[in-house]
Symmetry: C2
Amino acid sequence: MIDVDNALNIINESTKKLSLEKKDILSCLNKVLAEDIYSKDNLPPFDKSAMDGYAIKSEDTTNCDSENVVEFEIKGLIKAGDYCEDELKPGQTFKIMTGAPLPKGADAVIEIEKVEVEGNILKISQVVNKNNNVIKLGEEIKADELALNKGSNIRPVEIGLLASLGYSSVNIYKSPTVALIITGDELIDIDSKLQRGKIRNSNEYSLKALIKNSGAKALSLGVVADDKDNLKGKVKYALKNADIVVSSGGASVGDYDFVDNVLKEIGADMKFNSVAIKPGKPVTFATYKEKLFFSLPGNPLSLITTFEEFVKPAIEKMMGKQIGNTEEFPVILAENFKAKRGRKKYVYVEIKEDNGKYYAYKVGSQCSNHLMTMSGANGIIIIPKECGEVKAGGVLNGKFIFK
Amino acid sequence: MIDVDNALNIINESTKKLSLEKKDILSCLNKVLAEDIYSKDNLPPFDKSAMDGYAIKSEDTTNCDSENVVEFEIKGLIKAGDYCEDELKPGQTFKIMTGAPLPKGADAVIEIEKVEVEGNILKISQVVNKNNNVIKLGEEIKADELALNKGSNIRPVEIGLLASLGYSSVNIYKSPTVALIITGDELIDIDSKLQRGKIRNSNEYSLKALIKNSGAKALSLGVVADDKDNLKGKVKYALKNADIVVSSGGASVGDYDFVDNVLKEIGADMKFNSVAIKPGKPVTFATYKEKLFFSLPGNPLSLITTFEEFVKPAIEKMMGKQIGNTEEFPVILAENFKAKRGRKKYVYVEIKEDNGKYYAYKVGSQCSNHLMTMSGANGIIIIPKECGEVKAGGVLNGKFIFK
């Protein structure tokens, strides 16, 4: 049995970013950029007006105040999308709309609310500073400058930025395909009526949802009978057609540990088969060439916990994301929590915020079969393996779940 | 010009949950449940073993210790999925696997690690309590009990829970369709080379990404020329085919405010046309029957900010989610931040965590044109409209963006 941190290190060392693929930018949302992006142009590509107003030479207003009103001849209107060929001469102005390019010779814009207009005469009674309401050419970014680093997360703002830079497609890291092998002779189909000794196959659905939320693609091989030859065929198929294989439950039957045996027979590199985590513990991790194999426990709560703790970081690393525990924060225990020493314990709780502090409340039995409990929870608290019971008022690290 | 809170209240009052639709459970991920879900069965449907071990009558071990070893006759093996017809008699045991149903007459399971076996004789040298390692029938939920409330968010755990309860499909609230009308004669296609006075259409892409992340469906009408009749046709089409219409920019050209005029002409109920928010301000909100219309500013940063602040809560309410500001938390200013009084200001920053506290750092110009700035940010700080400059060390509310 190894520690959670050791297990995560081994998984991290065994996991590589996948290769690149070029995708249209909207398909890149929530993926990781796999190339540096340089600006092809100056943005904005011209001096432009930040307001609806009048473009002028600022020097024309040098001595201007309410006693010394300056008059300008309005030469025309420049709308966004227009381009004015005329050069502004002293005493002249153009009405200009937000986003429109300044005419040559103009260096400032005065807002429409601050002037008086009579016919084609504009009256200004205040000093207007150079570059007032002007967004300068190249102010956001200059041609050939680095706009986005390889490794950036592509959020809606990056989608907009890429569009404004003229990139309709970019290279991202591929998303892994995760194959699912569900074992357990007690499992019946979701639509079936319960029979003696049977329960419904819920793990396949939880896993598909977890995989979807992680940004990976699921390839489900469905419920596989507890038969070694059959399982071996499925494992080989899964390793061939997916980047990660996740098996759930039922693998350890009687004196046979089919999954581990199959992995050894095909020459997989067995990394560990037990982790000091609760719920969880019987987690096998192996590699086969560049592929990863996780054998997770069949108890629904253990399955979701170990997927989030061990498989999700591997998926994220393959997609080019950073692995980290940055989502943890201090949580104050509102009640006593019982625990046994020896394993790192993830206790599903309701985390409530009060005046900038977070408090953890019980939500029910932590029995690893009970999805009802997790369904009432919005977070976990993490009890270190050295700790037994932890008392109300104590502070532990916690995090929100399914974020 | 109205306050942000007023604007949000008006939007909230004008927004109703959409109607229901029945979907297979995996399609319900991240949606909101629109019905109460009751359990059809007791879960688990039988007393089952939580461990690999031996099923016994606990009373057979009453006086058991290392001096008084008790022997049992091993009658057979019960695997998960099996159902044992035999009734256990005193002095008998069945080997039993995790998840398997207890045989009649058994009331406890002792772990495989705690016993000795010789041939078909099991030796126990400790007291085993009643219900030890037994998950009782109905322990998770009983038949006809409420399992999930209408209004619950459907996360991976709820997908698994619904599957275990035998629900392959459930009623959820529909996700809104959001129509997009992009205006601005300065806009050219993303793949085009920049021409004089033109910039690329980035807002359509930002908006599609924001809509996708919010769980709604986008219906883009593309770039619409600044022509009133044309615009009117597009607005009517959008209101007919979508639940929410978002227009962006270019609507206020010269002395014409086409979008507002069109909305008035078709009889829309104009709610407000200016909000005390920066970046933002020229936000028009109107309703037309049950449909919502948001006219947002064309500056990329203002557009994303006002979408997240005003449109996203409406989308979420239509989908049955709660509208709330629960994601805000106290942030310590690491630097001085300049601001003008009069509008609630959203400043894009980098929020860094240090020892359980959050600190805000500048990321660059807050010019409402600059997506580069937002791309460097992971959060915002919110400066109340009454505040001017805020000093380093001060505490403001902040939140992470794109969460």
